[in-house]
Amino acid sequence: RDTQLLCELSRPGRRAARLPACDVPERDIADLLPTEATASSPPALPEVTEPQIVRHFVNLSTMNMSVDTHFYPLGSCTMKYNPKRNERAAAMPGFADLHPCQPEETIQGMLALLYEMQEYFQEISGLPACSLQPAAGAHGELTALLVAAAYFKDLGENRSKVLVPDNAHGTNPASAAMAGYRSITVKTTSDGFVDMADLASKLDDEVAVMMITNPSTLGLFEPHMREIADQVHARGGLIYLDGANMNAILGITRPGDWGADMQHYNPHKTFSGPHGGGGPGAGPICVIEKLAPYLPTPIVRKEDSLYALDFNLPKTIGRVRSFFGNVGVLVRAYAYIRTHGPDGLREVSENAVLNANYLLSRVKHILPVPQGNRCMHEFVASANTLKKDKGITAMDIAKRLLDYGFHAPTVYFPLTVPEAMMCEPTESESKETLDAFAEVLFRITEEDAELLHDAPHSTAVSRPDEVRAARQPVLTWAALSEAN
């Protein structure tokens, strides 16, 4: 099998694409462009043929695990089935081949879809305004925090802090920092909930926003949610809901109804847009009415049966990227929502939670789940006892699972749980698969520790040296030939 690099497949004179002959009168490039601006030769890209390209990349693809080939219970990432009808939808020329600057009369169908998406996101979150512009969840966080900042600036309030619980995604504090805020960590209790005393001690008039992930990264619904919101609101602050875990609560409960003022969605998680090996996703946000004037522009409006782009928000933060948004991802999410309907979306969450609880019930005897017997869409087990008793770490288990044909859960996150293994089966897996996974997990814990330290055994690669990679970075072909 081909694991050479493209540059190793290259031979001078090979080529794949051929371009048409120039059908307009051709002029010497020197007559068209100043010599000092032009390159004498094109960049030294590899020279390969089309059959090489295809075989190279098809073979590379088979070196990945993926949802279409394996159970992929990567916690917090919602690796659910990506419906093929969504891909067909996004590829329709009527959507895929639209230029972002086309006149509105030539994109009425596109705008109708995007308008509906605004409406759907608002309804699902219980928040009345929406911007589809952000390109990813973290981008949505940043955008919402910038919206909040603009709001406070408009109010004349000078708030500098953002509160973030210690079990939040790392993007929360990073987004706060990028938006110019100081990120303040709020502790969580051993139960995994916000430590109300710690919150009280940190909540002051400097707090602009409290970011909260609910259900949390532990897969638990925050019992003090309403109280937290009330307290933050009482000090003039806003609640930001990290929407990464919406898959647990569709049609069951809505962030807007608990006091969230802003939230983002991860349509590539909750609404089945594919993860693409790490993107692209999208990060639309919804906000309460009083924050709506600050949203990025444009917003899609509907008047009578005509759709239009509204750029006229005088208080807008501006824009956080070029053009409208990650429309291709939104088309997929639209297809998903339309084929599920209100009952179907609720069933998504019911089955995601049922599957997670079932897996929890099968796993907790093997790997303790510190935060109790129940969960929402995911749970965090711990290999801590196993580590103490047998020297087997979460990493060992994760690697060994690959040998058995399962992708590993998310490990070592959240940081609040030692030897964490965060499992999110999603609704699109069967009881048989969950049973098989639990059985393998049990079998692994019975295996010899030495065997596990060297796992995986069946993969082409095993335990890469990450320290070396970071200390002696080899990031390109050029660096490779230098290194050798």
């Binding site: 959507f95 081949d97 879809l113 390109a135 990028m178 084929t339 609720r346 080899v474 390109t476």
Partner: protein, 457 residues
């Protein structure tokens, strides 16, 4: 329901194992008063056939490139996408996998990231590349943040008016709550004026952002801009068009410290603006300030060469608020598409594509300017797009009339540049044939006649 497995029997067995009476019980941790208590107000579920019919109906209310002849540009272009790109991009193992947290289960994605980075460094003439960002505009904003951090200069960054207005807007939004000011400088004749730039740039300046070719399609004197920038100790951030590098000098060759680009043109569709591909490359010295994922080569426990995510100490899950950025994924699938596209083109294909854009766009400009109504707004040489001035100052009518005849003829510039309200931007890619260009010219000429008539009545 389509994607659920659980039969009533399964559910019962699972609930028994859990020790719960019903699925509802599983949601008991949500306080009752926070529950919705009604159905979501969403349209009822469609079957796949109905979805297909519905989407076709929606799509039929759009006029995609292919139905109209597209001369729109401004950062999104109707370039050709070879079939191999779709073939590879639709491989399940690529598009249904995620960020390669488990390197052993992700060597395909990791090698693609490494190859992508290698191609981007070759393309830009810079040392290192990340594995991609969201789009060109946000990549430009991230580059500005890098430059501020690297130089320690928090005073200002300079953006000429010839930088894409939406890129300027994005940079401004990103910097709004930070200390650094965004200084916009006017251009002369469609390009950066060295004197104005020299005056603006000072020891508080972190960076100058130069788009090459610029928003108006004009080729800037990048060497001169670099000289002025470097003289003040600021960094040069280049915003480039990947396709232009088939004929133009690379950012690294004219001194850019950081180069960013919109990369959707490398094999991904226009898709009404996204998802797109933010390209970013930089000098080696800046690598640890670079946002986004980076793949590196290493060896495994058996001594075999392999790939991993690396330099993760820059990232949020470790550094949290001290991370270089909050960006935590790349645009993996589109980086893959760009990798396949660049492999498919190769050096000759890139050169030929660039050359076709150049020749065809210049032909189009010349043909249009043969008509007395039209002139080029700027005299500087252009690469694949150009600004046409309508001497009758009726751009909207003109473009509307062209649209009626099947041409997306250009982008009116008045929205961003009031002084260019009589101008529109025309882009010509390798896909446009002579017949289409001649059709555009003839249409705008005829439209001009038709539009002119009522004006004289």
């Amino acid at each position: 329901m389509p994607y659920h497995y659980n039969t009533p029997e399964d559910k019962q067995a699972m609930l028994s194992a859990i020790g719960a009476e019903s699925v509802d019980v599983l949601f008991d941790s949500i306080p009752a008063e926070l529950k919705l208590g009604r159905r979501l107000d969403l349209p009822p579920a469609l079957s796949e056939l109905e979805l297909d019919q519905h989407l076709r109906e929606l799509a039929s209310r759009n006029t995609p490139a292919g139905e109209a002849v597209c001369f729109l540009g401004a950062g999104s272009y109707d370039h050709f996408i070879p079939a191999v790109v779709d073939t590879i991009g639709s491989r399940s193992e690529f598009y249904t996998s995620y960020t390669p947290y488990q390197a052993e289960a992700s060597q395909g994605n990791l090698q693609v990231m490494f190859e992508y980075q290698s191609l981007i460094t070759e393309l830009t003439g810079l040392d290192v590349s990340n594995a991609s960002l969201y789009d060109g505009a946000s990549a430009a904003a991230e580059a500005v943040l890098m430059a501020i951090s690297a130089t320690g200069r928090h005073g200002k960054v300079i953006v000429p008016e010839s930088l894409h207005p939406e890129y300027r807007a994005t940079i401004a939004t990103y910097l709004e709550n930070l200390a650094t000011e965004v200084v916009t400088i006017p251009t002369s004749g469609g390009v950066v004026d060295p004197e104005i730039l020299s005056e603006a740039v000072d020891e508080e300046t972190a960076a100058v952002v130069l788009q090459q070719p610029n928003f108006f399609g004009c080729v800037e004197d990048a060497a001169e801009v670099n000289r002025i920038t470097k003289k003040a100790g600021a960094l040069l951030i280049a915003v480039f068009d990947p396709m232009s590098l088939g004929v133009l000098k690379r950012p690294g060759d004219y001194g850019a410290n950081i180069a960013v680009a919109e990369g959707h043109t490398l094999g991904s569709p226009m898709a009404y603006g996204g998802p797109y591909l933010g390209i970013m490359a930089c000098e080696k010295s800046l690598v640890r300030r670079m946002p986004g994922r980076i793949a590196g080569q290493t060896v495994d426990r058996r001594g075999n060469t392999c790939f991993v995510l690396t330099m993760q100490t820059r990232e949020q899950h470790i550094r949290r608020e001290k991370a270089t950025s909050n960006v935590c994924t790349n645009q993996g699938l589109f980086a893959l598409r760009a990798t396949v596209y660049l492999a498919q083109l190769g050096p000759q294909g890139l050169r030929e594509t660039a050359s076709l854009c150049l020749q065809k766009s210049r032909y189009a400009a010349e043909q249009l300017c043969q008509h007395e109504r039209f002139s080029l707004a700027f005299e500087e040489p252009t690469f694949k797009e150009f600004v046409i001035r309508d001497r009758e100052n009726r751009v909207d009518d003109l473009l509307k009339s062209a649209l009626d005849r099947g041409y997306l003829a250009g982008l009116p510039l008045g929205r961003w540049y009031p002084e260019l309200a009589d101008c529109f931007l025309v882009a010509v890619t390798e896909k446009r044939t002579k017949a289409e260009i001649d059709g555009l010219v003839s249409t705008l000429t005829k439209a001009s006649e038709r539009v002119s008539v009522p004006a004289t009545v």
